[in-house]
């Protein structure tokens, strides 16, 4: 077994919502609760969930853009919060969903790409130039892109630039936050292919965040399914998607439209619980057709469902019905 590059234990984050006079009885909006996961070097972990499930908050905590309320993040056995900004930038990088907005509109691409080399690695101007040319080639952009500004690029090209910048930081771990959601299908495939290619070339580890089950399935080794701030199912990607054990994962899989298969939808209105007033027991219980009284009242146990797979559920779907 290869070594773990990322280990996350009991990560939680709430956002204060100011309601009430003078900030008394401030209420907490729960975004992420007690998330634990680990990623082995060279793997791709997919994090999937619908809007409001906390996947972006989780991602931002992993790169230090947000600090957790509780829990710890270890990258290469080092606590993330102990690292200074330079060490952190060398340890983990982030690719944003909207590539164009992640590039400074008043700066040429060349300048934007230079920043990590200068600030993280203190390279000389000549070294920077050489490194940038190498990377630009690796992400298949023409060299004349360097003199241009972000708005001159299409979404797919801009995402290549954003990936190039993450590569220039030379961190072994990259968090990709919905890197292809804003792109058209044909461009999406280009970027996915590029990501696979550079992963091998530079020996990278990915955390791939997406709301699209089919994209996750195409690129990931492991998967973490998030619902309402928690991981509800975790394990080998293809095993879980072939045969989901958690009712929510099953709902996600059956809701995704596919050619040649008629889709089934849940009957209720299917809303998330109120994040200001989370339910005591399983947060999916209200939507779950297997829910029993204990789901509503008791804390939900983690049940092993396979070699390294588990589901947080009282009644995981173990035998095929």
């Amino acid at each position: 077994m290869t070594e773990q590059i990322l280990k996350v234990r009991n990560l939680s984050k709430s956002f204060p919502v100011n309601r009430g006079w003078f900030g008394f009885n401030k209420r907490q909006l729960r975004a992420v609760r007690a998330v634990s996961l680990s990623v082995h070097k060279g793997d791709t972990l997919g994090v999937i969930g619908e809007s409001g499930c906390g996947k972006t908050t989780l991602a931002r905590m992993l790169v230090g853009l947000q600090s957790p309320d509780a829990g710890e993040i270890l990258i290469d056995r080092q606590h993330l919060h102990m690292l200074d900004s330079v060490q952190r930038g060398r340890a983990v990088q982030y690719v944003f969903q909207d590539p164009i907005s992640s590039l400074n509109p008043r700066m040429t691409i060349g300048k934007s790409l230079e920043t990590p080399l200068r600030c993280l690695h203190s390279l000389t101007s000549a070294q920077r130039k050489a490194a940038i040319i190498d990377i630009i080639d690796a992400v298949k952009l023409p060299v004349d892109s360097l003199a241009r500004y972000p708005h001159e690029f299409s979404g797919g090209q801009a995402q290549r630039i954003a990936i190039a910048r993450a590569l220039l930081a030379q961190s072994p771990l990259i968090v990709l936050d919905e890197p292809v959601s804003a792109l058209d299908v044909s461009v999406q495939a280009q970027i996915i292919e590029l990501l696979t290619e550079i992963k091998q070339k530079f020996d990278l580890t990915y955390i791939f965040i997406s709301h699209d089950l089919s994209v996750i399935e195409a690129v990931c080794d492991q998967i973490a399914v998030m619902y309402f701030g928690e991981i509800v199912e975790y394990g080998d990607c293809s095993q879980i998607l072939m045969d989901p054990k958690h009712p929510y994962t099953r709902l996600l899989a059956s809701s995704a439209p596919q050619i040649g298969k008629l889709l089934t939808a849940e009957s209720g209105i299917g809303q998330l619980p109120d994040p200001l007033d989370p339910p005591g027991g399983c947060s999916f219980a209200a939507r779950c057709r297997y829910a029993t009284n204990e789901c509503i009242q008791l804390p939900t146990p983690r049940k092993k469902t396979g070699n390294s797979n588990y589901a947080i559920c009282h009644h995981p779907i173990l035998n095929h019905e």
């Binding site: 619908e50 790169v63 230090g64 853009l65 900004s85 952190r88 930038g89 990088q93 982030y94 944003f96 909207d98 907005s101 992640s102 400074n104 509109p105 008043r106 920043t115 990590p116 600030c119 993280l120 954003a162 910048r165 930081a169 058209d184 299908v185 044909s186 461009v187 999406q188 495939a189 280009q190 996915i192 292919e193 696979t196 089950l213 089919s214 994209v215 399935e217 195409a218 690129v219 990931c220 080794d221 293809s238 072939m242 996600l252 899989a253 059956s254 809701s255 995704a256 439209p257 596919q258 050619i259 040649g260 008629l262 889709l263 089934t264 939808a265 849940e266 209105i269 299917g270 809303q271």
Partner: protein, 626 residues
């Protein structure tokens, strides 16, 4: 810089402002060199000489001082003081605003609370209080005007800085190892600069007015020195008898301020990102129709049992000289009870096609240049506004992509639903309300009573899209055009919305034109599918045929690069290259330069759409399965 000036002067009024202002500033600078009478030389025998007299071009004032000389010296003084005040206010205001916006937290609230308190004064009170404390005088008036305007700059700049501080590119600069100071200076400041310049250019005129005002009150420049404001103040005493002593400085102030305002508007237009693609244009209620509209010949209405017939429809976007052909020669028809899917990637023209049908494309810049759209016996493209209006929502209804932005945020759901009905039929409100509630239950909204009273922001995305559907159903239309109705929704909600639409189709026999970029979604609901690429329909036929046995290489490639669930890890086959832009005419197959089956002949001529086993294909070498 020259490019920027050109951009500003593109607004002709701004050019005028620039010329006027430039002239005045030049005069002010040259004043000491001009052969003028001394401005403060008193000559009481020659008081109140009228303008255009021999020795005084603009006449003299109550002490016989030469008005032209005083005017020019006064202009110089007013300009200098006003500009100085504006620079001071702009500098300190912007500094406070940037620091508050970027730092956030305590610093932000401390600065902004102070700014709030300063803005709680009507500005002149604060200025008066400051002048009262420091004593009358031009310098003190300058300080007063500058201080009073600092909060304005601070608040404006802070608003932008707060948004920018959260922007992705600032975050990624942080991840690239930049320090706070370096982010402030190199990343934030260049982006805030345009806001500062806009705020500056639109307030300089105002500050010149304010300093002139204080001088007018006798609190600014003190005699014998005079700026334009105090000249007006002195002239006022003789207003009735010798109005020229007031009119001359008054007109000068007016010219300066107007020049600045005109120029400021031009600068704002050139810098404001929202105005980057041209000025704010009001979209007309009806898409403009091109001059040389080519009407298709009348078709015999007896043969067609279609709900809608579209023939050779073409729509352009025309921004000044640049023409972008968004929809090129699109033809299709939808029969009663049928769901036709229009699928394509962004920029393929599918949404523009949908909007062109009832001429809803924003115009300017949209123009329907050719084609015909018929519903039963009516031709929509040449119909006048009132005729189209009667069809919109009544016979052809729309469901839009994002239910949050497409519902009116300030109208209650009930009102939006009943309005759809009362627009097209007369009736008692109670009848409409009842019908609206029924519609809401029909789209499976649990408690219609309560939802009727709700505002859109109080509902979830899925609920809002149900409202969107209910609203489209309000008048029992012949055709519903659904423009990416599930794209903004989560996958579980999308499944529900698709199920609702499917059930409604069966119960009501709805005809639907369903637009989407997602082939998988198409498969769930459509009877027939038309694939669009670069504004053209490239393939059309029965949904299972197209989705499982595509004949056009583009459709095939699109399917090959969409990942499928249940296939495990897979390598996708991306389509290389980019689609053509709509700027040039198509003299070849639009897909040729990305196509794996391309032959030289594909590049040489436009390709006609042909019928192949009841499937329309625009390809010379279609995919034939063995």
């Amino acid at each position: 810089m020259i490019g920027f000036v050109k951009k500003v002067v593109r607004n002709r009024l701004a050019g005028l402002g620039l010329v006027v202002l430039f002239g005045i500033i030049l005069l002010a600078i040259l004043t000491p060199l001009l052969p003028l009478a001394p401005p403060n030389a008193i000559d009481t025998p020659n008081r109140f000489v009228l303008p255009f007299s021999d020795n005084a071009l603009l006449g003299t004032d109550h002490l016989g001082r030469d008005l032209l000389s005083r005017l020019l010296w006064g202009t110089q003084l007013s300009l200098a003081v006003g500009l100085a005040a504006a620079f001071i206010a702009g500098f300190f205001g912007a500094l406070l605003g940037i620091v508050a916006g970027y730092m956030g937290g305590r610093t932000d609230s401390l600065i902004m609370r102070s700014v709030d308190i300063l803005m709680a004064f009507p500005y002149i009170l604060l200025a008066l209080a400051i002048v009262a404390a420091l004593g009358p005088g031009l310098m003190n008036a300058l300080i007063a005007v500058a201080v009073v305007n600092i909060p304005f700059f601070a608040r404006n700049v802070r608003g932008v800085a707060v948004t920018l501080a959260q922007a992705d590119f600032i975050q990624s600069a942080r991840l690239s190892g930049r320090s706070d100071i370096s982010i402030l200076v190199f990343e934030l400041l260049p982006n805030v600069a345009s806001v500062i310049i806009i705020a500056f250019s639109t307030t300089v005129g105002w500050m010149i007015l304010e300093t002139a005002g204080l001088s007018f009150l006798g609190l600014g420049s003190q005699p014998p020195q005079a700026d334009l404001g105090s000249m007006l103040g002195e002239g006022r005493a003789a207003l009735i008898t010798n109005p020229h002593t007031s009119i001359i400085p008054g007109i000068m102030i007016f010219l300066i301020v107007m020049g600045i305002n005109l120029l400021g508007d031009g600068i704002r237009d050139a810098l404001d990102p929202r105005l980057a693609k041209g000025r704010l244009e009001k979209p007309s209620p009806l898409t403009r129709v091109g001059d040389g509209l080519i009407q298709s010949p009348p078709i015999d209405s007896t043969a067609s049992k279609a709900v809608m017939d579209v023939n050779h429809l073409s729509t352009n976007f025309e921004v000044s000289e640049v023409v972008n052909k968004a929809v090129r020669d699109v033809s299709f028809s939808i029969s009663s009870g049928e769901c036709l899917g229009l699928v394509g990637e962004s920029g393929s023209g599918k949404s523009v096609t949908a909007l062109s049908l009832t001429r809803l494309v924003a115009s300017p810049p949209g123009v329907v240049v050719s084609g015909s759209v018929r519903i039963s016996d009516q031709e929509l493209i040449s119909l006048p506004y009132e005729g189209i209006r009667a069809i919109r929502g009544r016979r052809v209804a729309y469901i839009f992509q994002d239910p949050l932005t497409s519902l009116h945020p300030l109208h209650r759901i009930g009102h939006q639903l009943t309005e759809a009905m009362s627009t097209h039929s007369r009736g008692a409100d109670s009848v409409f309300v009842e019908r609206a509630k029924n519609l809401l239950s029909e789209v499976r909204i649990p408690n219609p009573e309560r939802v009727m009273d709700a505002y859109p922001h109080e509902l979830s995305g899925g609920m809002r899209q149900r409202i969107g559907i209910a609203m489209a159903l309000a008048n029992d239309p012949d055709l519903i055009i659904a423009d990416e109705p599930t794209t903004a929704l989560d996958v579980t909600v999308q499944a529900q919305i698709l199920t609702i639409l499917n059930d409604l189709r069966q119960q009501r026999g709805l005809s639907i034109l369903f637009i989407s970029h997602d082939l998988n979604v198409m498969a769930q609901i459509c009877d027939r599918v038309a694939v669009m690429y670069a504004g053209e329909i490239v393939e059309m036929g029965r949904a299972p045929d197209i989705l499982e046995h595509p004949k056009h290489p583009y459709t095939a490639a699109l399917l090959a690069c969409s990942p499928q669930i249940g296939q495990g890890r897979q390598s996708l086959q991306p389509i290389t290259g980019m689609p053509p832009t709509g700027h040039e005419p198509l003299n070849a197959c639009a897909f040729a330069n990305r196509c794996s089956r391309v032959q030289p002949v594909c590049q040489q001529q436009p390709v006609e759409i042909i019928d192949m086993d009841s499937q329309l294909v625009r390809c010379l070498f279609p995919v034939v399965e063995s």
